[in-house]
Symmetry: C2
Subunit: 463 residues, 2 copies
């Protein structure tokens, strides 16, 4: 049996690698484009009189851990540490403005930090100015760590590059790769650190299958701060930072599950993401009927901001609407957020019970919370709409006449009163929104949405 | 203002005491009966050759803290500490058998410990054999503490007897007096200790209005064990015992509330319990319609056991049925147990939503709980009735086809499978039970029940 599994694993590795190893042509191409960009930076910097900048190639391309078909190039442009922020902004702006012209197209991705994205000869290129600080622990701006990450990985990854590739592909196939807020999965740097720490692809899976909430990996044994995250991987270049801080509990848990099942019965299936075709109107109708639940959705124009700024606001709204429903005794079995750039953003809530009786039970504060107790008593004790007023366990409870017996009017009423609204979401909602129910949802016209819905409604962890 | 309140309080004390102070005739009568009983015990013991027993008068009658109309006499019969259990049982049985004949009627209240109850000349008399141990901390049987309680109170209560009476009456009026399981309120000994500790009736209320969960009162400053109870009053005669262990969180909290409101605006109202007339069929129908909820009740023959043995079993059943409903996404807003001796016992559940959609969401174990996770996966992952199988946060979740869309068939199905059944309740259920719903509940014929229902449905803490 053991030999079989080992053979299986070797076969699987080889088969997957034959699909994901970059081709020689791809490598040469990437090298040429990258060299061209660095030459451009140096040339333009000289022209601008910026003689003390150093271009630093970072990212998976530099570390030989990138996957076939990946066309990302990341180049950092470092300024001396003692450059003032003002000078830094002005100089980097001048440099980036000129660099933008070298691309086939470009975008300003500046948020707190100046940075541009250009497309050039089929490559997606990030150009990021930073400070040349002494260590990852003494950064002046958040991006200053990246060059240290790159050095650390390059020094430690030798011989494990293909294990990183396998791990990345395994994570893509199982839906846990990508550290953007929308995904909440594993970043590239995190997969590299895990591979180094554990000693290889299978070794990562073996350890992961034993992980629990709060698992700590401190490669450099220099942690200085406690983190309350599902997984804590202390950055070997900065003792204060958890590299897995963006990893959601769901993706962490899914990875544990997938690692465990894969090890029990290894298969190439784990390395390719299941594609869900868009749900058709008829399929949706049939599914909705079979489920028998009520869908409520708040739809509004997508604010013109980066996804990583938008999604935290969508998730906050989603969570607070769910809490509002729960407080009012509606059972939201599923909630999710979905957004399409330039089009609409929607927060969905699937409710089990959409018609509640007139009676509503309000659970108040504990009796020993005197000021809250007093205001709860004042509000409900003598109201004509109060059926009963009593104490249960340590809390006041009032049975009152329910204001909204259905979920949609409740949400409409509470949206600006009790929901948690981030700045951009609030602005967009103020410009207008719709509250959709089952039949209205059918009418949403977006292939991406119906793929997403299919994936959500038919979700099966497989194999 | 202060003077007014003080005058108010003095007036209230006097008025209430004028109603609850035992009359001279009552006192004389009680003394005569008690003396007669003790004489009988001594006489019979001599006849039986039991020369080493000592009758000990205990209870509120002995402490002068009883209320008018109270006709309880408690007499303990102590045997030397070195008496063997076997000898103790045999001797006390012989003695109690003869004593039983002196009453107008009698009952064997023996459970773990031999003890009889007799009625004599209008008095309710408990006769309890015990061991004459050295201290309350070194008892041989649970009842051996009582004589020490009595001694302690007699030594410390002088001058505060009327404060105890007022406190007892206040607790009766507000529904928190009585330490039987059904009530879960304050015992007589507890009211006496609180009065001694605080220094008087009003002082108890003042302190109580500041109580929080976990409040500790250790009069003898000798606590040796931590208790996880709402209120901990360490027995001055036994450092390991919490005198308030039987006090429920609800009654504890209600007393805090009532103390606070009374002190804000003292009134005699607090000293008399509101009477609820039985709800008529029409009133119940109208109320049920107004609430719009669904009532489900499990009704069965009351087991022929003491209430203090029955009620823990009823409460366990009530709690577990509520949990079954919650697990299956029914919202039970109210639950309660009711029982009538020789007739029926009923556990009631008031459900907000009695028709659920076909979809049911099952929340499974965390991924890192490997053995439970494996059995959850096996049960749901590939079932044809599973809509979806996924991970949310740290847990497996399955959307499955709901087996019971209504609460009554669910409870019927789960009663012997998942509900927590105490021995006597299980036996009675096996002999037969009914699951009642709204209309069936109307047909319950019991004045006591309809009084109870009225109190539950119209509950208002007043004033």
């Amino acid at each position: 049996m053991k030999t079989d599994t080992k053979d299986d694993m070797t076969n699987i590795r080889e088969m997957v690698l034959s699909f994901i190893r970059p081709t020689q042509a791809e490598k040469t191409n990437l090298e040429t484009v990258r060299k061209g960009i660095i030459d451009d930076i140096v040339k333009i910097a000289r022209r601008e009189g910026q003689l003390d900048i150093i271009p630093i190639s970072v990212g998976s391309a530099e570390r030989n851990t990138w996957l076939r078909g990946n066309h990302d190039i990341d180049v950092f442009i470092s300024y001396p540490e003692d450059t003032s922020f003002n000078e830094f902004y002005q100089k980097s702006k001048a440099l980036l403005t000129e660099m933008a012209k070298t691309g086939d197209s470009w975008e300003d991705r500046h948020s707190e930090h100046p940075y541009i994205h250009i497309r050039k000869e089929g490559f997606e290129v990030d150009l990021v100015p930073c400070f040349r600080v002494k260590s990852g622990a003494e950064i002046k701006s958040a991006v200053d760590r990246t060059p240290f990450h790159c050095v650390y990985i390059k020094e430690n990854i030798r011989g494990l590059e293909e294990d990183v590739m396998l791990l990345k592909q395994f994570m893509k196939g199982t839906g846990v790769y990508g550290s953007e807020v929308r995904t909440g999965g594993f970043s590239g740097y995190l997969t590299e650190l895990l591979t180094i720490h554990c000693g290889g692809f299978e070794q990562v899976l073996k350890q992961a299958s034993e992980w629990k909430h709060g698992t700590l990996i401190d490669i450099a044994a220099h942690q200085t701060i406690e983190h309350d995250d599902p997984l804590v991987v202390v950055d070997p270049t900065d003792p204060k930072r958890n590299v897995a801080a963006a990893l959601s509990l769901t993706k962490f848990s899914l990875f544990i599950d997938r690692a465990r099942f894969f090890l029990k019965s290894p298969s190439v299936e784990y390395f390719s993401k299941k594609e869900y075709p868009p749900l058709t109107a008829e399929e949706y109708k049939r599914l909705a009927e079979k489920r028998g639940t009520k869908w409520i959705a708040v739809s509004f124009k997508t604010p013109p901001i980066a996804e990583d700024t938008l999604y935290p606001q969508l998730f906050r709204l989603e969570k607070s609407l769910k809490e509002i429903l729960t407080r009012n005794e509606f059972t939201a079995v599923n909630t999710f957020s979905w957004s399409e750039e330039h089009k609409q953003s929607i927060v969905f809530l699937e409710v089990l019970n959409d018609l509640l009786p007139p009676l509503q039970k309000r659970v108040g504060p504990p009796v020993w919370n005197e000021s809250n107790a007093a205001s709860f008593c004042q509000k409900y004790k003598d109201s004509p709409d109060t059926f009963s007023f009593a104490i249960e366990n340590e809390r006041y409870v009032a049975e009152v006449l329910r204001k909204h017996r259905s979920a949609a009017p409740l949400i409409e009423d509470m949206l600006f009163k009790e929901a948690a609204l981030g700045r951009h979401v609030r602005d967009s909602l103020k410009d207008g929104y719709e509250i959709l129910q089952n039949e209205d949802i059918e009418k949403i016209e977006s292939e991406a949405f119906w793929k997403f819905m299919n994936e959500k409604l038919a979700a099966r962890i497989e194999p």
